[in-house]
């Protein structure tokens, strides 16, 4: 019987020395790439090259390590991801090109995730077990136990990962996830993640939620649970690694709550403007990388410039790509045998 661990919210930063410099540089690279992508998406929205923006700037420190630690592939031997709409950094960390997100923003026929049918940030990639992101809040928490049960049966070390925000945990689907993941004798290999930015759209979590930490709710189900500083990529990496190893090996659930920032507001519906009063995980990571001599300011500036140019070039390319044909609305209502 696994004893639920006491929740300890680690506010202090893990030292950079706990990870090899190579990995720190790689994480930083992906975090910057993801941020530049999101900023480009916002710019596309603002200049009329998309109808709606929602995404994950502010969650890179958590979402990049998540992607790096996932076992990528198709079928129950690999990890399934049931994400919400703030997961771009995870996709990039898995090796996805930013151009797909740009195409989805521009709703082109070439959009690899939905063919111009769905909003930005609504990824889907069967080849890598990325289940389609769907707009209704929290439904992914009701669905994820299904892939986890298939994996429990299959054996091996593939796990299911589900992510979503804090406000959504008020939905019954979050409770469903805890219940279905911890049925006695049928515990599931599922990593239940909540990225807590302390906001719904405009509603502050503190005004609606009496629980101290969302992760406390795992305790009632004997689910190992933890709240971590998701703005620290080193902490995130180490905690995710530990949680994933537990789920992979023990074939039991783990509830991980990561405290993150929301740097451009909820979505384009609230303006998508930079907010100055929340911690910026890239800024603080870069200060540490520089202070500890892992990267120089000049190197980091050059990296950002490189991605800015690359992604701007991709956006120009996407701009000229065709929209889907209206007659295609009847395509793929049903599955065509491949």
């Amino acid at each position: 019987m696994s004893r639920p661990r006491l929740v300890d919210r680690k506010e202090e930063k893990s030292s950079l020395g706990s990870l090899p410099a190579e990995l720190l540089i790689r994480m930083h690279d992906l975090m910057v790439k993801a941020r530049v992508l999101e900023e480009r998406l916002i710019q596309m929205y603002k200049s009329g090259h998309g109808y709606f923006w929602i995404g994950g700037p502010g969650e890179e420190a958590f979402n990049v390590p998540l992607g790096l630690l996932m076992k990528k592939g198709q079928g129950p031997a690999y990890d399934y991801l049931h994400a919400h709409y703030r997961q771009s950094a995870t996709l990039l960390a898995l090796g996805e090109s930013p151009i797909g997100a740009l195409r989805q923003m521009k709703n082109t026929a070439t959009d690899p995730y939905s063919g111009g049918r769905n909003f930005a940030g609504h990824f889907s990639k069967r080849e890598w077990n990325i289940a389609p992101v769907s707009s209704p809040i929290e439904v992914q928490y009701a669905i994820a136990p299904g892939t986890a049960l298939a994996q429990k049966r299959f054996g091996g070390d593939g796990i299911t990962i589900v992510t979503g925000g804090d406000a959504g945990t008020a939905e019954g689907d979050f409770a469903s996830c805890l219940i279905w993941s911890s049925r006695p004798g049928n515990e599931l290999p599922i990593l239940i993640i909540v990225t807590n930015n302390q906001w719904g759209i405009s509603t502050a979590a503190a005004t609606q939620h009496g629980e101290k930490h969302i992760s406390d709710r795992g305790r009632a189900f004997n689910i190992r649970s933890r709240t971590i500083d998701g703005n620290d990529p080193v902490t995130s990496y180490l905690e995710l690694k530990e949680a994933m190893e537990y789920v992979r090996k023990e074939r039991k659930p783990f509830l991980l709550e990561a405290m993150v920032s929301r740097l451009y507001g909820h979505s384009s519906a609230s303006g998508a403007n930079f907010v100055g009063d929340e911690p910026d995980c890239i800024k603080s990571f870069e200060e540490r990388l520089e202070a500890e001599g892992v990267l120089t300011r000049a190197e980091m500036d050059a990296l950002r410039k490189k991605y800015t140019e690359e992604i701007a070039e991709m956006a120009r390319q996407v701009r000229d790509e065709p929209q889907p044909d209206g007659a295609s609305i009847y395509d793929h209502i049903y599955w065509e045998k491949k």
């Binding site: 079928g75 129950p76 399934y80 049931h82 959009d111 995730y113 939905s114 063919g115 049918r117 769905n118 609504h122 889907s124 990639k125 069967r126 289940a131 389609p132 769907s134 209704p136 439904v139 928490y141 009701a142 669905i143 994820a144 136990p145 299904g146 892939t147 986890a148 049960l149 298939a150 994996q151 299911t160 019954g172 689907d173 469903s176 219940i179 279905w180 049925r183 395509d331 793929h332 209502i333 049903y334 599955w335 065509e336 045998k337």
Partner: protein, 352 residues
């Protein structure tokens, strides 16, 4: 002959043995009960779930995404309503992902009136189900069709909503399911769980055979020249009975079609019949406002307007908030034999 509950059970057994069905689950679906209507008794892959309809549909979607072949049960369709956005997701996943993912799952749920189920055990679901694109929706009215449609559902690559008219679950069939013993006492001994203690009981399955009723094909139940009657589920046998009596006693020849699949439906058969008779009555027991029969009427008018000899008619459930418990209340709320007989007679008598 098997009743519909036994037919469903035999289909699930055949499918888990031969067609890759992996999970039959829901509230009280596994042992010891095997379903509140006994449809899942003795099924190897049957298991009990938490009392959580959203969790059940979510689980089925997840299993299907991961390559399993689940058949989920919602104990009564009255309790499926809080899962509608998940049903929408099952129905839109293929389309939303532009053909990348499919969701091969089945949802079985008992529907309709006929057991004096009062307000929350008498709902229909066909009108609502047909508002959710991306699903295939079937509703058998005989045990043999129940068997054949369930095998077809298991073979489908898309989500299938399998509606079980609960008034018909205990009605014996008139046709043998391939492999079923002719003696129904023997069948009962073989596959019905004993009452009371049954922890050591195991079913003796007959040597069942594959029999598939293709999704999308209606059945011509009775030929006739004067009126077309299209129905499904509980009201279908009543329509057939009414037509038989009217033919014998009043010389009214009604053609009766069992739609069997609500989506995608067999317009070819219905259309050909309307061409012949010029008069059509749609009968079902879901509430009449935005009823699926209304869609069929629109289609009838658009395709057959100049050949119609009377306005197309719909006989359906009354648009009231529920079906009351008392006999009189239930009978006043949903079509009964007499209502159907009267409606066919009136339509046959209509002159342009």
């Amino acid at each position: 002959m098997a009743n519909m509950a036994q037919a469903i059970r035999m289909a699930l057994h055949y499918a888990e043995e031969n067609l890759g069905l992996t999970d039959v689950f829901g509230e009280d679906v596994g042992p010891p009960l095997g379903g509140v209507f006994t449809c899942t008794q003795g099924i190897q892959s049957a298991w009990n779930s938490p009392l959580d309809e959203r969790g059940i549909i979510g689980m089925a979607i997840g299993l299907a995404l991961a390559g399993q072949k689940p058949c989920a049960e919602i104990q009564f369709c009255d309790y499926i309503y809080n899962t509608i956005d998940l049903l929408k997701i099952a129905g839109n996943t293929c389309w939303s992902s532009n053909g990348d993912w499919n969701v091969p799952m089945i949802v079985r749920t008992p529907v309709g009136s006929g057991i004096r189920g009062s307000i929350y055990h008498s709902h229909s679901f066909d009108a609502t189900a047909t508002h959710i694109p991306g699903w295939k929706i079937v509703m058998p009215s005989t045990p043999l069709d129940a068997y054949g449609l369930l095998l077809a559902a298991v073979l489908e690559d898309n989500p299938v909503m399998y509606l079980e008219p609960k008034a018909l679950l205990r009605i014996k069939g008139e046709e043998l399911i391939p492999g079923e013993p002719a003696d129904d006492k023997m069948l009962s001994k073989m596959i019905d769980a004993p009452l009371g203690e049954r922890s050591k009981w195991k079913p003796q399955w007959p040597a069942l055979e594959k029999y598939v009723v293709p999704i999308g094909k209606a059945k011509l139940v009775r030929e006739g020249l004067h009126v077309t009657v299209v129905s499904w589920g509980r009201t279908l046998p009543l329509a057939a009975k009414a037509a038989k009596a009217l033919a014998e006693n009043e010389g009214i020849e009604a053609e009766v079609i069992d739609l069997r699949t609500l989506w995608p439906y067999d317009w070819e058969m219905v259309s050909a019949s309307i061409e012949k008779t010029g008069k059509v009555l749609y009968v079902n027991e879901d509430t009449e406002v935005t009823n699926f029969g209304e869609h069929l009427i629109r289609r009838t008018i658009e395709d057959h307007f100049y050949k119609l000899l009377a306005p197309p008619r719909l006989l359906a459930g009354k648009f009231v908030p529920g079906i009351g418990l008392a006999d009189n209340l239930e009978m006043a709320s949903v079509p009964q034999l007499k209502d159907i007989t009267d409606a066919i007679r009136a339509l046959a008598a209509e002159q342009p």
